[in-house]
Symmetry: C2
Subunit: 343 residues, 2 copies
């Protein structure tokens, strides 16, 4: 399987994140990608390619112009305001507050275009997020051009990013951008299966009213886990998208055996939908030793996950999302990809 990756993606290097009222060391750090890249090389998964540059047009097909402009111009405004440390928003337009007019002040902009306080913005964030999106599109293009599968080693991840907000370590929604790019390049039906431990709230909301991109997600119950405010079983799409979103929220402590029925159910939906390409939002944070998660996958289980995903010979694009058990990340990731190839 071919891998796509750009070193520019490493330039986003958060120092801290805010959780439990404390500044703690960031967990979404460059070494995540480095560990996966090392495993891809060591286990000879296949050739590694630099992404092509598709420009910002495919990004703007998914994200609002206001949001993209904000991210692109942020660091200049931030430093012009005399700020030097990485940026965190601190106030949000929740119920009864207005998301427009868009504020002029940089702190207002940060809240207007975000959903959480745990996703620091730095001087290289925009460049890294753009490179991550290019990585996703390049992997999708490989598959559209005939590869049976490809791996986009995306970082920063994407699935929490909405049409006009960042959050959950995500800035551009790589999976959504790749899916939209495939649609814009002639494919009629694309499916996204999100197996990250956390619900892919951004991806879901981007396609919630559409039937041309099926969204399936298996994840920790949002009543108990981040992102808390989306990913419930009763969310099944709206308007033209009614029926084209499907969530399997599972309890904390879920192991592979308890996960399997949901996965098999998702596979049945894929069989019925018959996507021309499947995009897998590949989080590795279902791992039992993940420091911020609560499922119980072993490293071997990720191999079985990959095998299962090969069930219907659908051309498949794997895009990396979360996973924070740094030491095991490469092993677990390549286990999925090898499992798929040998499945």
């Amino acid at each position: 399987m071919k891998t796509v990756f750009s070193g520019v993606q490493l330039s986003h290097a958060p120092k801290h994140e805010i959780s439990d009222g404390e500044l703690k060391p960031a967990v979404e750090i460059p070494s995540r990608a480095e560990m996966v890249l090392a495993a891809v090389k060591q286990r000879r998964l296949g050739d590694i390619f630099e992404p092509d540059d598709f420009g910002m047009r495919p990004v703007r097909r998914v994200h609002s112009d206001g949001y993209v402009d904000f991210l692109e111009g942020f660091w200049e405004k931030w430093t012009a305001a005399g700020r030097q440390s990485e940026a965190f928003p601190f106030v949000w337009p929740v119920r009864s507050l207005r998301a427009d007019p868009v504020p002029d002040h940089i702190d207002g902009l940060l809240g207007r275009y975000s959903m959480d306080a745990g996703t620091p913005l730095g001087g290289h964030t925009f460049a890294a997020a753009k490179a991550s999106a290019n990585t996703a599109i390049t992997a999708a293009k490989l598959v559209m051009d005939g590869e049976k599968s490809a791996f986009g080693l995306c970082r920063p991840p994407g699935h929490h990013a909405g049409a006009d907000f960042f959050g959950g370590y995500c800035f551009f929604n790589n999976a959504a951008i790749a899916a939209q790019w495939l649609r814009d390049n002639g494919l009629a039906r694309v499916a996204i299966l999100d197996v990250d431990y956390h619900h892919g709230n951004g991806t879901q909301s981007i396609f919630y009213g559409r039937s041309d991109v099926l969204f399936l997600s298996i994840h920790a119950d949002p009543r108990q886990e981040y992102p808390y405010f989306l990913g419930h079983a009763d969310e099944t799409g709206e308007q033209a998208g009614t029926g084209f979103t499907r969530n399997w929220p599972l309890p904390l402590g879920t192991d592979w055996q308890a996960y399997l029925p949901a996965l098999e159910d998702a596979c049945r939906w894929l069989l019925v939908y018959r996507p021309e390409v499947l995009i897998v939002s590949l989080g590795l944070d279902c791992f039992e030793k993940d420091p911020i998660s609560g499922f119980k996958f072993t490293s071997e289980d990720f191999f079985d996950l990959g095998r299962k995903l090969s069930f219907a010979d659908i051309p498949t694009v794997f895009l990396m999302e979360g996973g924070y058990a740094i030491e095991a990340l490469g092993t677990n990731c390549v286990n999925v990809l090898e499992g798929f190839e040998t499945g």
Copy 2:
């Protein structure tokens, strides 16, 4: 003028707040109230009374049961989850995310019931907020019972707190609770004039659809200043409340002379509305030396503000809101109150 205050209000003692991506020393601290109390005594403003206990019913007339229950039970759940430091939320149900179902997890609850990351919750927050609400109601009752004016030395402040969220150092909306209590005790028309530097987004949203409580606010333009997402000039009420909200957003750097036309305009609205009681949300953060604000009031200007507010002999309840220039806080506050009395 009689003052109402309870020492319980001092028990909410935040250590830090999150701003600019750093944990900084909290500015909404107990000494704020102590400085004002000392000035009230030193300048012999009048007798000081403990508040009566009105129970939680008047609070629940303004705030949702879910929110009140959350605040009341929070610290027990927080410590049961093994947390010890003061609590900050970190993810919010913004656009495309759901505010219900209400999460079970304590971190989800924190985000569900808040609007910002700068308002720490501690073990004594609920008791202090409840005492602050009782202080507001007691001051309102003094005026309803015949006093020409009264001062509720509220702390924590209230005007940023919405029907179901905390934020901006505010938990229970003291002004809204007092206004609703007056309505529930026979008054037909109550007005709230908010002269805090920041827009009173919580108060506005609570009464936005109602004509029985007029809401007027003069504040820094939310395009440039917290709370960023409410307080624009085009917000004038909705449904039955259409026309009964009025905002005067003013530019950073506004001094007393530039402020005066807005205040005189607000006074004209009060003359037309003829409230039986006026509640003044008395922030002192228009002061030129306020550490987090950008207006240019001198200490003498606060005396003139008080004089202006006496223009129409409306029975008036002063409730303290913000103001963070600790050394001058007592002087500036009592200047307003003496200005009113001698006006």
